[in-house]
Symmetry: C2
Subunit: 206 residues, 2 copies
DNA sequence: CATATAATGAGACGATCGTCTCGTGTCAAG
DNA sequence: CTTGACACGAGACGATCGTCTCATTATATG
């Protein structure tokens, strides 16, 4: 039984996976939902191979735009000495707002696929089906004032801000309320400031 | 050219449309996305007819669960003499919360279809593609205290609460934050109360 | 370099989608 | 009751989905 250590080939797998995600991201830019065949062709890969990496089209579309349109949050607070959490959270929301509204088409496709996929997998075993970029951003914004919050208040505030930060609120403003981008930004700016202030007040009172 | 007034037959059209929506709502209860053929069969209608009423499957699924799971909001404040907007908004959110989490599967399908459909129709002409049940509910909750808000503050508060009330926040809590239903309700309860309070303060100050 | 093994390509398969045409049934005005 | 307009049913069509099998290529190790 001359067993040989199986070849790793992890680099090859990583590259083809990345090629697929990149191709999907490119094709989603214009808001057109690409068929898996289109993505595979753009990635110079056969259809069968694409299905070896992603169980369905949605799973592929979920990962695509996130990698493409991910700005560098670090630069947001880099040359900035502001400590005021209200100010920092508002600025972070502004950046997230821009990113979401600039990539609305692609993000809609991602969100749609994500929501449907989670519904399908409710009965099966859970899957890490969605990334979370907003929590790190929120935490970075709150970091300098971290000690001014009680722990419970901090966690509650963080969760509440997550409702406002993401792409879901964009859907509310556009599809439900039919409000324009500027109004949306104004409402969110007011809301995040009010929430930060409330959490601060409750933390220092008593 | 003997022209005769064309037969109305609007009742027939209304019934088949309603039959299709009802059938879709029934099939979506368990979270399984029904194929259009399944819906048509359940509605005792041919596939071709279903396509005569809805351009695609998503358009059908968007309208279904809303009609099915729409409680009577009026009863919420019927035997209630509370005037405090904070209390009323919190109670309204609790009701919406229950409705959304009880029908999570169907609402996910609706939301997914709605978000994707809006993306597709971005280039074409706008379409009334989504109903808005939360705004009337929010307005009913704020009604008794309506005069205590300045107009701008009222509109801003109403929009901010819409972010928290709907099904979108459920997606945030479940898929992004991975928090359980109880925690979600607690966070939202705190947030809506804080927002109402902030809007009130800003309205009476100055 | 040689080779076992992993990664890929090619393509068939049934199911569903969305569109189309044509024939039948049915309502309601005259 | 008659009849014209309308709703409906049946079914074909190509496109895409997701799964499968089998052959071919590429890679890392000895």
């Amino acid at each position: 039984m001359s067993k040989r250590k199986p070849p790793e080939r992890s680099n090859q797998r990583y590259r083809t996976r990345k090629d697929l995600i990149d191709a999907a991201g490119r094709l989603m830019k214009n808001g057109h939902k690409p068929s898996l065949e289109e993505v595979a062709e753009a990635a110079r890969v056969s259809r069968a191979t694409a299905y070896r990496y992603f169980p369905n089209v949605e799973a592929l579309l979920v990962e695509a735009p996130l990698d493409t349109a991910a700005p560098d949050w670090d630069a947001l607070f880099a040359g900035d000495a502001s400590i005021d959490p209200e100010e920092r959270v508002d600025r972070a929301e502004a950046a997230m707002h821009r990113m979401v509204f600039d990539n609305e088409a692609a993000i809609r496709l991602m969100l749609s696929a994500s929501v449907a996929r989670a519904a399908r997998e409710t009965d099966g075993e859970a899957v890490p089906y969605r990334q979370n970029r907003r929590t790190p951003l929120i935490e970075a914004a709150l970091a300098p004032a971290r000690t001014r919050f009680k722990k419970a208040n901090y966690n509650r505030l963080r969760a509440a801000l997550a409702m406002i930060f993401g792409s879901e609120s964009m859907v509310v403003f556009r599809d439900v309320l039919r409000l324009d981008e500027k109004t949306a930004r104004a409402v969110k700016s007011w809301a995040v400031r009010a929430l930060v202030r409330a959490a601060l007040d409750e933390s220092q009172a008593q």
